[in-house]
């Protein structure tokens, strides 16, 4: 391969990468964006809420087991089944939200840290715009949270609806079956959101590996 053809190939590749990495240019470090600020605040409260939810669900499960052993009423046992599931899934929803917030917090560290380093080196600050996977992460996470929280709320509504008649108990069982599927779909959406969040981190790492090498070749930014 001749020198000219190598240069052409490199120029072509560089253009491809410019198209792949949309950036904003600035003379100041961008800090965290709004989502990342919220995420930094919400990680630990979500974790605490989640742990309380799953512990509460286990406690209600034990109370239901005691009710069964003691020969309690079928209505109470069915009510406790709905309430236990609702509380546990609220806990799981908050734990998944905690994971999502922690991923957004890492993305914030890359955004702020990347900007700070470019500034410290006296170069133009280039910050990667949120890629498609970042938007998919946010959208799926919100849909998942709404799905799981809505089905948890329905568990409480349905528990309050149980009267103790045979038809009411059968209906409670039907409703439990339907909600179990919806909850698992919510968890699947949460996990998929997390995959997209991690995909965004891979994208950012790839961009930063390229950008940091550029810094060494670039001259200082003109003020």
């Amino acid at each position: 391969m001749t020198t000219a053809s190598i240069k052409t190939a490199l120029a072509h590749r560089s253009a491809e990468h410019r198209a792949e990495f949309e950036v904003e240019r600035s003379r100041v470090s961008p800090g965290y964006d709004r989502v990342q600020k919220v995420a930094r605040l919400m990680v630990l409260p979500s974790l605490a809420m989640g742990l309380m939810g799953i512990a509460g669900g286990l406690g209600i499960g034990i109370a239901r087991a005691t009710e069964i052993t003691d020969g309690g009423s079928a209505a109470t046992i069915a009510e406790l089944q709905h309430v236990q599931q609702g509380v546990t899934f609220i806990g799981l929803a908050f734990l998944f939200a905690g994971i999502s917030f922690a991923i957004a917090r890492i993305l914030g560290a890359f955004r702020k840290g990347g900007g700070d380093i470019q500034l410290a080196a006296g170069r133009t600050v280039e910050i990667l715009r949120r890629p498609l996977t970042g938007w998919a992460f946010l959208g799926l996470m919100m849909m998942a949270m709404m799905t799981v929280l809505a089905s948890s709320a329905l568990h409480f509504v349905f528990a309050a609806d149980i009267t103790g008649s045979a038809s009411s108990l059968a209906e409670a069982d039907d409703r439990f079956t339907a909600l179990a599927g919806v909850e698992r779909l919510g968890l699947g959406m949460y996990l998929t959101a997390i995959v997209f969040g991690l995909a965004t981190i891979v994208h950012v790492l790839r961009y930063q590996a390229r950008r940091v090498r550029q810094l060494a070749d670039e001259g200082p930014a003109r003020v």
Binding site: H17, I68, K112, T177, G188, A199, H203
Partner: protein
Amino acid sequence: MSAFQFVGRPPATADHMSRSRYRDVGMIVALAGLMAVAAATLANLVVSDDAAAERQDTLAWAAGVSFTGLNVVMVAVAIMLMGIIVRLWMRVDSVKAALPELTRRQCAAETSSGPRPLWIHRLAETMWSPMLAMGPMVVAAGVGLSIAQEGETAGTNAFADLGALASGTLVLGLGLTLGAISFILGTILSSLRKGGAEVQASVGAEIKTREVPPTVWAFVGLMMAGVVAAMAQFGLLAVATGLAEPASWLAWLGPLGLFSLGLLLAGIVLALYTIGDVVGFQFNRIRELIAAGR
């Protein structure tokens, strides 16, 4: 480096501009898993109005498909984390290449004075791959039990026992896969620690490493408690299937399974929280090296 050597540090000559295959494959696998969960949800919704005795067969296989789908998405999370490990090392090589110019320091012979890996790092690097192999295998066994349950007559003891065993096995499989994800996160923390020291040593600077924060120990504790609880619920469910009246046992063992998964998820939150802290610390250190040169 992992036991299977298919993920770890790429050679220094690796192309840092190339697309990440892990990222592409991970997203495809995740969407496939989500579709499986959606199909099982549809099955649940379709039969929810049928008489309780008539829908049991469908619910048996739908639970198997649903948990398999969730496990597939968890495997996608693991694939994506492997991609992060590879890219972290590429970033270390890039920073090492650029730092002498940015700090005006000469490249220095790398010393071996970096921090020694913690026992949890060594454990994580060794354990993630066997755990990742075991999790899906156990889930597959659970699906097998779900299929066997579907073959039994609804309402019989055999049907109920197989259902309990299948649910316990599926939860154990998910617990092992989440354990594998936790160990990969531990491996990422280890890579960050080694890579950070390597970058500082490459310009002959004093090696500063973040002290191990309490969140790491909480992460390890929650992960271990989660795996133990998942195993306990599986063992106790196996015991309960031999009892004449297992209903009261099943009433709390089901929630115990979800509790165990919750503990593992809580550990993962703390691992990611710690990664965020370490990344912030390392950016500050590089900025310090550029600004002050030491």
